[in-house]
Amino acid sequence: MIEVSGLTKSFDRLLAVDRVDLEVGRGEIVGLVGVNGAGKTTLLRMLCGILQPDAGSIVIDGHPLVADGIEARAALAFVPDTPMLFEQLTVLEHMLFVARLYGVRDAGPAIDALLQRFELTEKRRATASSLSRGMRQKLAISCAFLHEPAALLLDEPLSGLDPPGRRSMCDAVASRAAAGSAVLVSSHELEIIERLCHRFVILHQGRVRLAGTLAEVRGNLGSLEEVFLRATGAGDAGPASA
């Protein structure tokens, strides 16, 4: 599970994340939404250990990220918005490398299962540079699933994907949560997030503006989009045109 308390991060004079508290339990999918520049990516990068927080604590699967970084990192997986792959390595080589990186023993059957599940079996000898956007995303997610992480962090996982790709990605995320992972998803795709996530955190100007289940956050409002617009003040200009 993921436990975040009082997390703060600033860049020079810009306060990007301001005292954020957050908890994602096992088997839970939490949607992280916010306008551009709200601090979502900075928050995710701190959670996966790329950026160091100025204040606050992060605990991944019972391991504090700062004090016990190796164990905490071993329990998490991060998928960025644009899948960055080793262009000259093949699909299979990516999987073998990740298995070694996370110390997955006897990874063969797990790799075969993931390749089959994400329809990459026929591409196992293809280099990453020859893959389409959707295939690259599938490979990135396969690599993230290989060590069965306790915490899964996804930054805009649906950007640039076609409808079948989105469906496939959502199914994969849901299945990972069903297997017991704590999943934190950042996205602008409110409709999909609304269907996929159990809880929502609306981040605005680095702070948590609203958090809870859909029923809790929406109150009298109709959809997550309306809640989001109200919470961030983005809808003050008037209703969106049809």
Partner: protein, 550 residues
């Protein structure tokens, strides 16, 4: 997990990644060799390098390497590079990883020390190949190939370890402090350079490289120059002492890096983003990237007159050019360095120095000042949709670079007009009058070539391969031919005017010169206008849907 295990956690996986990547590179190389053009290029390169490396000097017909390269010259080169690297390390960091490494390695259970070690191993492999190439092409006279290669290898290790060590020292400084201290360091370096040149100027008659101050300045590099220029010395005491000192320096730096206890991920991530942005900028056609600037204040330029649509494009390019002005520092440094070296090596007067600087700006300027179609790869589809005639659009795009280049030429070499002998002043004035048109001609030919054979400066992954370099050479050859032909036409018209004028009753030398110049200038202007029009037509022809990565 024990503390020792944690310190090197993930190292095995990182080494396995290195092995996989080497295998992938070999696979890609073998696949490339199956293409006839690549095979021919590879064989040519291999033959050329082997010839230069192995043929004895008396068979090659000329001394190899740089025969005049002495300890002082080598010392200056060896000193300048670490200074620049140290400045880069303070300013933005040098522990850089590729985006895919950041994605896979940074969130993984890999220790900072393992990351640093892998980074060092990666650069070690590159520096070894670099050392071999340096030893082939830049070998001090009378020095054995292996000795020089070993010397360069050790120096490149220093060049890799020293900035990393500086970077780790600066990690605790906030971003603004780093930038401020980098500015101070740069100012100190410039002051040192200006001081050394000034001192040599005062001590007229002594070569810059022979001054005592410079000999003292390059003293820290003495162990490296001794090791590189070992020549017949291996086994002798100075060589042994030099080698021992170099090894001690490298061991100290490596120990300093490996004893680092903090986390390098954030700093490395930041430096990697800067580098990725720079690479992207280069791929989009810019020579260098200026630092990111979030707030630029108001517009730097008032909107230019419409000029049929050309004005707005010229304004856009000039604004970009002004906002990225720092990226032209290298051109200006090259120009100043040429002027200084011409003065000190040939004891040249200010007029000759000015002309030398003008020469650099005329030849290199169009390659560096490129706020035109060449830096607009990604904008070409959008430009195509605009309601501006292609010729007018091309004129607007090219005018900005031409104007900017002319201003740089005037500022950095225009003073030669006032210091040249009076008998040459009129001719030089003519050069400066014709220069804007000639700049426009050069730029239009450069742009035309790039639109005919669109190619991003980097290859598929941002690093140019042999085919890209060959293609670049072909394009440059074509550019030189077209510019030469344009100048020949201009000269022909001017000569025709010169010889034809007496038959029209114009006999005075001065009058004939002025009229011939004007006729030549008109011819040059006409050729340039045709070239600009052609650039417009080529812009219409370029296939925007193609990936230009080559």
């Amino acid at each position: 997990m024990s503390r020792r295990q944690a310190a090197f956690s993930g190292l095995g996986a990182l080494l396995s990644l290195m092995r996989l990547r080497l295998k992938a590179r070999a696979r890609s190389f073998c696949r490339d060799l199956k293409r006839p053009l690549r095979l021919v290029l590879f064989l040519l390169m291999a033959f050329g390098i082997t010839t230069v490396a192995l043929l004895p000097e008396h068979i090659a017909g000329q001394p190899r390497g740089l025969p005049k390269l002495g300890l002082n010259e080598l010392g200056v080169c060896l000193l300048l590079l670490p200074l620049l690297s140290a400045w880069t390390a303070v300013r933005q960091g040098v522990i850089v990883f590729r985006p895919e490494e950041v994605h896979f390695l940074f969130p993984a259970p890999v220790s900072s020390r393992a990351l640093l070690l892998t980074h060092m191993l990666g650069v070690l492999a590159k520096s070894l190949s670099g050392a071999l190439m340096f030893a082939v092409f830049v070998r001090p006279a009378g020095t054995g190939f292996l000795t020089t290669a070993l010397g360069y290898g050790l120096y490149l290790q220093f060049m890799m370890l020293m900035p990393v060590s500086v970077d780790l020292t600066c990690l605790r400084w906030p971003g603004e402090t780093r930038r401020r201290r980098a500015r101070w360091l740069l100012a100190a370096m410039v002051a040192l350079f200006v001081g050394a040149v000034g001192l040599a100027w005062v001590q007229d008659g002594r070569a810059l490289l022979g001054t005592a101050s410079l000999r003292h300045a390059i003293l820290p590099m003495l162990p490296f120059t001794t090791v590189i220029c070992g020549g017949e010395l291996p086994g002798s005491l100075p060589y042994g002492v030099g080698m021992a000192l170099v090894l001690a320096i490298l061991a100290a730096l490596a120990a300093r890096i490996l004893s680092f206890r903090g986390d390098v991920r954030e700093a490395a991530h930041k430096a990697s983003l800067v580098q990725a942005k720079a690479l992207e900028s280069v791929r989009n056609g810019r020579v260098f990237v200026d630092g990111p600037r979030e707030h630029v204040g108001g517009s730097l330029l008032p909107m230019l007159p419409q000029l049929g649509g050309a004005g707005v494009h010229c304004w856009r390019q000039l604004t970009v050019l002004l906002r990225t002005r720092k990226s032209y520092a290298l051109l200006l440094m090259m120009t100043v360095a040429t002027g200084v070296s011409v003065h000190f090596t040939h004891k040249a007067g200010p007029a000759v120095v000015g002309l030398a600087m003008l020469g650099v700006l005329v030849v290199s300027g169009p390659m560096f000042v490129r706020c035109d179609f060449r830096s607009d790869y990604d904008c070409l589809p959008w430009l195509r949709t605009l309601p501006t005639p292609p010729g007018v659009l091309a004129a607007g795009q090219l005018l900005a670079s031409a104007l900017a280049l002319y201003v740089i030429q005037l500022v950095f070499s225009g003073w030669s007009l006032f210091v040249c002998p009076p008998e040459y002043r009129l001719a030089l004035l003519g050069v400066y009058v014709a220069l804007p048109v000639f700049n426009l001609l050069q730029l239009s030919v450069w742009n035309g070539a790039h639109l005919m054979a669109p190619l991003r400066p980097g290859g598929e992954h941002g690093t140019p391969d042999a085919a890209t370099v060959l293609r670049l050479y072909m394009v440059m050859l074509a550019i030189m031919l077209v510019i030469g032909a344009a100048l020949a036409v201009t000269g022909l018209f001017a000569a025709a005017a010169w010889f034809g004028l007496p038959s029209l009753g114009v006999d005075g030398t001065q009058a004939r010169s002025v009229v011939s110049f004007l006729v030549g200038l008109m011819a040059l202007g006409t050729v340039t206008a045709v070239c600009v029009w052609c650039v417009g037509r080529l812009f219409l022809r370029v296939d925007c849907s193609r990936d230009l990565s080559g």
